[in-house]
Symmetry: D2
């Protein structure tokens, strides 16, 4: 059960500021562990939507979540905003792996960091399809380093 | 089942901007009706905390919610921010009633509006206590008009 | 700011048991006020779906929420289940008003009670339409008393 | 980005049935990826509370979450219940790793599976402390196999 060290702001490429909510705090007075995944989801999908790639209501393909993980380094609490950083760390034919970091507005060391894997599927059957070229371009531009290719399966 | 008309920005005194989240959208593609209450809760409590009145972890009194309501006028969707406006509309010995309005960032007409009633209680027994003078002052300064007194019971 | 008295189990017609979740508890150690609305939503829509009326993905009409309210009488906490009771209290051409009560599994007096107003809309334009006959029948069978007609507007 | 195969019911030791909620479904009509973590949290903590070990309000130690992960194999939707299975897979001096599986009520193959790591901390300073003997006993009884010891660090 060894744990990775917290990343810093320089490890991320794209940013989103999100307000905490009263209901985010759980019985121990800190943001509940499940809320970080709401932030991950929001940072990733907002990027895809704002870049004109993902259309939730009628676009094709859509991106489904197949795996997520998070390590928690320091507690966060409502009120206050958090900055969510995102970097693409692996790109496959139909899949992409994002690294995400959550930072207090005044801090350079992540309070939490995790991963989030999206798979491109067609809307009707929800079967994997290749990423369209514009999506691939965005992913490549959202990486800190040359992207390693994902395993051939995905 | 007649419904009130949507309020406008001028009906509110204090403001808070809150980011929508992916998970806020429900199966119909719009922010779920329960999420508006998370925003109400956040706008009210953030004000109390940032004014130095409410200390969630150890302060006394705390404010408990005894009633809430909301009317929905127009749908909202992730992504995008909302502005939550707040005005105190009634002040009692131990209770306060807030009116709240939710606005799209680019709109003067509320997408939803509701009420939220707080009661001051002591931390240990959670029995009603009078609002301390600084709390009353904040409530009076957060009203658009002279406040009507609440019924003697509260 | 006078408050209604808590209803009892005999005031409700249909029931749903729902498990509380860890994240439901907020910083004061009790179920957050917004969660009760998740339970209302779930009790109402599960009834409509299980009766074969509402099809979330492709049915027509669908039912949108236009207003909700809740009064909180006694705190609830994770863990443990709650029973959510439902009764239809008003039926209009395109609208229906439900009363809802939340009970601890071992208690006859509601911990919270509220209202929830649904309007029938067509899926494509989301404009009000009359309730189909089978929906009206369900609503009439879910009332404790002869239903009063809603105002002509809805 | 290869993925583990879905576990089966026989891989888990303790069970909890949880009702889905309307708000769990997101814009794609399925339970949002963040909700599974609410179920993990609830299954783990309910076990600790019902066994008389964890007292949220005043007990010592408490258990904090330091890492979570989940793989999603098949979509789930409201309405309907899910069964959450739990097995302890690693036990350290102050840490424990649970494996969790989410099953549709009528299915033997997990729709999702993940891990959840708790660390024992004292309430006042939130510093790691050894698990009390009764906690260790519960963890050992909740494993499917002889437990491997965690790394010395935790």
């Amino acid at each position: 059960m060894s744990r990775a060290a917290p990343p810093v702001r320089g490890d991320f490429v794209r940013w989103r500021r999100i307000a905490t909510r009263w209901a985010d705090n759980d019985a121990y007075g800190h943001v509940n562990n499940t809320v970080y995944y709401q932030w991950f989801d929001s940072a990733v999908n907002a990027m895809l939507i704002e870049e004109g790639l993902l259309d939730i209501a009628s676009g094709d393909p859509i991106a489904l979540v197949v795996g997520t993980s998070c390590n928690y380094f320091a507690p966060l609490s409502f009120p206050g905003d958090v900055d969510v950083g995102l970097a693409v760390v692996e790109l496959g034919r139909s899949s992409v792996r994002y690294q995400l970091g959550v930072f207090r507005a005044d801090n350079d060391l992540a309070a939490a960091a995790g991963e989030f894997v999206h798979v491109a599927v067609n809307r009707s059957e929800r079967r994997p399809v290749p990423w369209p070229p514009q999506w691939r371009r965005l992913f490549q531009n959202s990486a800190t380093t040359e992207l390693e290719e994902a395993s051939p399966k995905l």
